[in-house]
C-alpha cells in the first residue's frame, strides 16, 4: 500500500497534466454535444419530413458505428481532402458529434414527455412555434433530461481515453507514458482509475445537486 502511494504521488504531476486534457475534451464535447443534441431533437420532433429524415439518419449513423471508428475517420481521412486537424481538435469534434447524437435521443424523449397541453396553451396566448419551444417546452424538457445527461457526461469522460489513440496526452495516455518508464503498470493504472473514479463521483454529485436546485416546486 505504501508502495502504491509512493508510485502514485510520483506519477501524479504527469497524470494531472493528462487530467487537464481529459476534462477539456469531456467538458467542451458535452457542451457542443448539448447544442447539437438540442438542435437534432427539436428537428426530429418539430421539423418537417426533410429535417426529420436528415436528423434521424445522423442519429442512426452515429449510434450504429463505434466511436473509435468515427474518431479515426475524422482524424485520418480529413487530411486526404486537405483538412488537417490537431489530435485534440479532431477528438473534440468527434466526441461532440457522437455525444450530440446520444443527447438528441435523451432530449427527444424528454420533449415528448412534456404534456401536449403545454404547447396548446403556449399557442393559445399567441406564441409562435419557436417561442413555445424555447420558453415552454425546452425549460421543462431540459430539467427532465438532467439524469440522462449526467450519465452521458460520465460515459464521455471515460470515452475520452480513446483520444489517446490519436495522440492526445490525456489521462490514460499519461498513465501509459509513466508506466512504460517505471514498469509499475498495476500501480500506475490503479492510480489512473482512482482519478477517473473521483472525478466521476464529484460530477455525479454536482449534477444531482443541480437537479435538486432546478426542480419545479410542488412537482
Amino acid at each position: 500500500m505504501t508502495h502504491f502511494i509512493e508510485v502514485f504521488f510520483q506519477a501524479l504531476p504527469l497524470l494531472m497534466d493528462g487530467l487537464k486534457f481529459t476534462m477539456e475534451l469531456a467538458i467542451i464535447s458535452i457542451i457542443f454535444g448539448l447544442g447539437i443534441g438540442m438542435l437534432i431533437a427539436i428537428l426530429r420532433v418539430y421539423g418537417g419530413k426533410f429535417s426529420y429524415t436528415l436528423s434521424t439518419a445522423y442519429v442512426e449513423l452515429i449510434r450504429g458505428t463505434p466511436l473509435l471508428v468515427q474518431l479515426f475517420i475524422l482524424y485520418f481521412s480529413l487530411p486526404q481532402i486537405g483538412i488537417h486537424l490537431s489530435p485534440l481538435v479532431a477528438s473534440i469534434i468527434s466526441f461532440s458529434l457522437n455525444s450530440g447524437a446520444y443527447q438528441a435521443e435523451y432530449i427527444r424523449g424528454a420533449i415528448q414527455s412534456v404534456e401536449r397541453g403545454q404547447m396548446k396553451a403556449a399557442f393559445s396566448i399567441g406564441m409562435t412555434k419557436w417561442q413555445s419551444i424555447r420558453l415552454v417546452i425546452m425549460p421543462q424538457a431540459l430539467r427532465k433530461v438532467i439524469p440522462s445527461w449526467t450519465n452521458e457526461f460520465v460515459y464521455l469522460i471515460k470515452y475520452t481515453s480513446l483520444a489517446y489513440l490519436v495522440g492526445v496526452p490525456e489521462l490514460t495516455a499519461q498513465g501509459e507514458f509513466v508506466a512504460s518508464r517505471n514498469f509499475e503498470f498495476m500501480n500506475v493504472f490503479s492510480g489512473v482509475a482512482l482519478i477517473y473514479l473521483s472525478v466521476i463521483l464529484v460530477i455525479t454529485w454536482l449534477f444531482s445537486n443541480l437537479e435538486k436546485k432546478v426542480k419545479i416546486p410542488g412537482v
Binding site: 404534456e115 397541453g117 403545454q118 396548446k120 396553451a121 403556449a122 399557442f123 393559445s124 396566448i125 399567441g126 406564441m127 409562435t128 417561442q131 420558453l135 415552454v136 425549460p139 421543462q140 430539467r143 419545479i216 416546486p217 410542488g218 412537482v219
Partner: protein, 247 residues
Amino acid sequence: MKLLEVKNLKKRYKNKEVLKDISFDMDKTETLVVIGPSGTGKSTMLKCINRLVEPDGGQILLNGQDVIKARRIEKIRQRIGMVFQEFNLFNHLTVLDNVRIGPLKVKKLQKSVATELAMENLRKVGLASEAKSYPAQLSGGQKQRVGIARALAMEPDLIMFDEPTSALDPELIGEVLEVMRKLALDGMTMLIVTHEMGFVREIADRIIFMENGEIVESGTPEKIFNAPEKERTHQFLNQFTKFWREK
C-alpha cells in the same frame, strides 16, 4: 360588425365528420354557451376558431378579419383567449410568470408594465397572494383561476372556455364560476362549453345545443330550457333535470 362569425365550418378526422356545417355569430360582450353530449365536436369547434386544429372548410371572421386565411395566426390567437379543461398552466413558471409571459414575451410589453398587468388580473381572480407559487402547489380551482388570468392578461376580444370546471372537485367549481360570472358582468365576450346547466341558465345570453357535429338549435336560455323546439334538445336537458332531482 359581429365580433365573431363562423360560417359553414367543417372538420373531419379520417372518415369521421366531426363538424358538419357549423354557422353562428357573436356580438361584443355576449356570453354564448355551447351545450351538447360529449364526442359531439364542441372542443374541436373551439380549437378550430383559434386554429389549434385546422378546419377543412368554412369561414371564420374575428372583427371581420379572416382567421383561416391569416398568414400569421399567432397574431389572431393573441386576441382569442382560451381556458382549458385540464388548465395547462406552464408547469415550470410561477403563477405570476404564467400570467405575465404573454404580455412580456408575446406582446413585448415592458417588464414593469407586464408585471402590473399580470398582478391586476391575478387580483381579479383573487390570486394575487399566490403570485410566487408554482402550479403544482395550487388546488384545481386556483389553477383554473390562474388559467383565466393568463387569458385575460392578453386583453383578448374573446375568451373561449372548454369545460373549465369538468376536471374540478365539486367543492371547487363554485370559485371558478364566480370568476366567470364577474367577467360576464364586466362585459367580456365569452364562448363557453360547459355542462353546468344551472350556471348556463343564469349566465348565458344565448345557448347553442350541438349534437353529432351539428347545431340542433339555438336561442335564449328561456327558450332552450323552457320551450325547446327540438325533441333532442328536450331529451338532452331532461337528463340533467332528472339528475338534479335524484340528487
